[in-house]
């Protein structure tokens, strides 16, 4: 088994453009981290209930629930962080204001505060994730070996994580600022890594490059690049260019089909050549995108395109692949 590229990391943040399979990768990463008897918390912050759909469980409450057991005895818990609940918890924890909290909720003040106070929402969401990642002794809740955050998409990730800058206009001092500072301390440390999920397509790759730039600019630790849904190549690389350009050896194709007992009509050979041409074109494009990603000089991991819809058994397979390639 490969040695982990991120041995010091406790908080794994997973982002990616919509449609790249960010939640699936976050789930697989949590399973990989849990393998061998470790406890892992998988969190989401956008109210999408993506984790529940992924593990085929009922919608998650604001509570840490066991959603899967990993290879060799580990456990994955999941939590859907809700900003209103987090604010109530925060008020209770720091000010003992539980009853006032529920009164505030009734008149809509909690909704108001979490919606409009600049950055407060993100401080609450990241704050809760930080709390879970930095728990130290029993009594303060379950202790985790690692926390995985299914984060907002690449386009918003730097702003979401850079909570200090966001609350700066709001709170120059005071408790929110302190909370933001300690969140930033964890996020900027070697205990955090932000992984980006992408496909080998133009837009997701461009967003990944922009995302890495943006994260670097605000001093947040970029982790690995996970290339998801990689197609199998049915042609050897030296044939990509000629086949894409339409010059496939149709005579060989015809002979091959015949010897395999298939009636090699000109129509069939033409159709198969066209399919091969499309495929080769796609592979060439993927090579270009792969080169662009390589310029980022970040550890890169690949997951194959699965023919079937994602179910839990696929997640274990993906977890294994991430481990073999050294992400975990």
């Amino acid at each position: 088994m490969a040695v982990s590229d991120f041995p010091s990391v406790k908080l794994h943040v997973v982002t990616g453009k919509g449609g790249t399979g960010k939640t699936t990768v976050a789930g697989a990463l949590a399973l990989a981290l849990a393998a061998g008897g470790r406890q892992v918390l998988l969190t989401e912050v956008e109210g999408r209930q993506g984790i529940a759909q992924l593990f085929d469980t009922p919608p998650l409450p604001y509570e840490e629930r066991l959603v899967a057991t990993a290879d060799r005895g580990g456990e994955v818990y999941a939590l859907a962080v809700d900003p209103e609940q987090a604010l109530l918890e925060y008020l209770e924890m720091f000010y003992n204001l539980r009853r006032a909290g529920s009164a505030l909720k009734r008149i809509g003040a909690i909704d108001f505060a979490t919606t409009i106070a600049p950055g407060l929402r993100d401080v609450l969401l990241t704050g809760k994730v930080m709390e879970a990642a930095t728990r130290e002794r029993r009594g303060g809740g379950r202790l985790y070996d690692a926390v995985v955050l299914d984060a907002p998409p690449t386009g918003r990730i730097a702003r979401f994580l850079n909570v200090n800058a966001e609350v700066a206009g709001l709170a120059r001092m005071g408790p929110v600022r302190q909370q933001a500072d300690s969140v930033m301390n964890l996020l900027r440390s070697r205990r955090t890594a932000v992984h980006l999920v992408t496909l080998l397509e133009e837009m997701p790759v461009q967003e990944t490059i922009d995302g890495v730039k943006e994260l670097t600019r605000v001093d947040l630790p970029v982790g690995g690049i996970v290339v998801n849904m990689v197609r199998e190549a049915f042609l050897p690389p030296e044939l990509f260019k000629p086949v894409a350009a339409g010059s496939i050896d149709t005579a060989e194709l015809g002979r091959g089909l015949k010897s395999a007992g298939i009636d090699a009509t000109a129509e069939l050979v033409g159709a198969l050549a066209a399919e091969a041409g499309d495929h080769a074109g796609r592979l060439l494009l993927e090579e270009r995108e792969r080169d662009e990603l390589a310029e980022l000089e970040r550890p890169t991991y690949e997951l194959p395109l699965l023919a079937e819809a994602i179910d839990t058994s696929c997640l274990y397979e993906m977890a294994n692949r991430l481990t073999q390639q050294g992400l975990v």
Partner: protein
């Protein structure tokens, strides 16, 4: 499966809204519909939110100046034209402030941290501003058709909910409470509110600090004078969407999550009595040789492996098997959707070998969108393969 009469749609609608989950090709679909409408002779404006860089460049969208620009390279022989713009949400919001408040007050508002937060990161501002911009574009009367590409929301439904949510929020109880002391003049009824307000102010002061609270009151007071009935405004944009001539196009790909979102959206549009033109299913796999089954192709590939003959043919056969399986799976997904929503017309667009990033590519997508419809048999099934 019913099909969509795309040419009729682009010839007769005055607003087309493309919606769906993120990453399903909404922007490309919007641009392709707009281009087709323009080349069929209509004056069209397409409002995009977040186009791929090369697609944006091909449409001349190189600067974010929040005004529509003519797209060059469009065939105007039929008398049509195409303008395109990329939405700048903050700028659109700032423009509302500038047009409603006196200059000095406007500057105060624009600098307020709560305003900055609301205008740049409130979940829903982008959707609201897209609608606001749509309203503005329609009001100019410059275009026969405006095509809107909706924001990449966390869920497709945000787009319908956000304008009202923002309206409700700005018109809400909390805002009124914060304003109450100024207006109440010590009347008894308001006393309850004032007590409540004290609790709120205390907590907010504790959490945010006193300075933030002063910023907040200033912001709330500005909103009051400036926007009056924010909700009314949201309702207005909502009504615009129900007008005859508006058509919604739901965009999806044949994958479970995207189709689930599409199904929610279709049901929601029906519940709101909003006019749905149909579902565009992008990236549908098809095989050029559907008569050679996947099983047969795989068996032949294995036979070739064993005899050591033509690795090329074996590879091509495996590729073919994969494509046939993908096509079958996609067709099953489409049929399942059609079975659950028999009244919704569906048009399928084949998976492209490369990304679309020029007008020719858009033209091809437009032609493919339109080709699925057979005027003589609107209910014919597409069961090729």
């Amino acid at each position: 499966m019913k099909s969509v009469d795309v040419d009729r749609l682009v010839d007769t609608s005055s607003i087309i809204v493309c919606c769906g989950a993120g990453g399903v090709g909404k922007t490309t679909t919007s641009a392709a519909l707009a281009l087709r409408a323009a080349e069929r002779g209509r004056k069209v404006c397409v409002l995009t939110i977040d186009p791929a860089r090369r697609l944006a460049q091909s449409m001349g969208l190189t600067e974010l100046d929040n005004t529509p620009r003519a797209v060059s390279g469009v065939d105007g022989a039929a008398g049509g034209s195409l303008d395109a713009m990329m939405l700048d949400m903050k700028r659109t919001f700032d423009e509302i402030v500038l047009s409603h408040a006196e200059p000095q007050r406007a500057q105060q508002i624009l600098a307020n941290p709560f305003y900055i937060s609301l205008s740049s990161s409130f979940a829903g501002t982008q959707e609201y501003m897209a609608m606001e911009k749509l309203g503005q574009l329609k009001a100019t009367g410059n275009w026969d058709l405006v095509v809107v590409d909706t924001p990449p929301s966390r869920s497709a439904l945000d787009f319908l909910d956000a304008p009202q949510r923002l309206g409700r929020f700005l018109d809400g109880r909390m805002i009124r409470m914060l304003l109450a002391p100024a207006k109440a003049g010590g009347r008894g009824v308001m006393k309850v509110f004032t007590v409540g307000l004290n609790v709120v102010t205390n907590v907010l002061t504790k959490v945010l600090g006193g300075e933030a609270l002063r910023d907040l009151s200033l912001f709330v007071a500005s909103l009051e004078t400036m926007f009056g009935g924010f909700r009314e405004r949201a309702d207005q944009t909502y009504r615009l969407l129900k007008e005859p001539g508006t058509a919604f196009v739901v965009v999806a790909v044949p994958e479970r999550d995207a189709l689930r979102e599409a199904a929610y959206f279709v049901e929601r549009l029906a519940a709101e009595r909003m006019p749905l033109a149909g579902l565009v299913l992008n990236r549908v796999h098809a095989s050029a040789a559907p008569d050679l089954s996947a099983q047969r192709a795989l068996a032949a590939a294995e036979a070739l492996d064993q005899s050591g003959e033509s690795a090329l043919t074996a590879g091509v056969l495996r590729l073919h098997a994969e494509r046939v399986l993908a096509a079958t799976r996609d067709r099953r997904m489409a049929e399942r959707f059609a079975g659950a929503h028999p009244a919704v017309p569906v048009v399928q667009v084949a998976a492209q070998a490369s990304d679309v990033h020029d007008l020719d590519g858009l033209r091809q997508v437009g032609a493919e969108l339109a080709s699925g419809y057979d005027a003589g048999a609107p209910d014919r099934g597409r069961r090729a393969g």
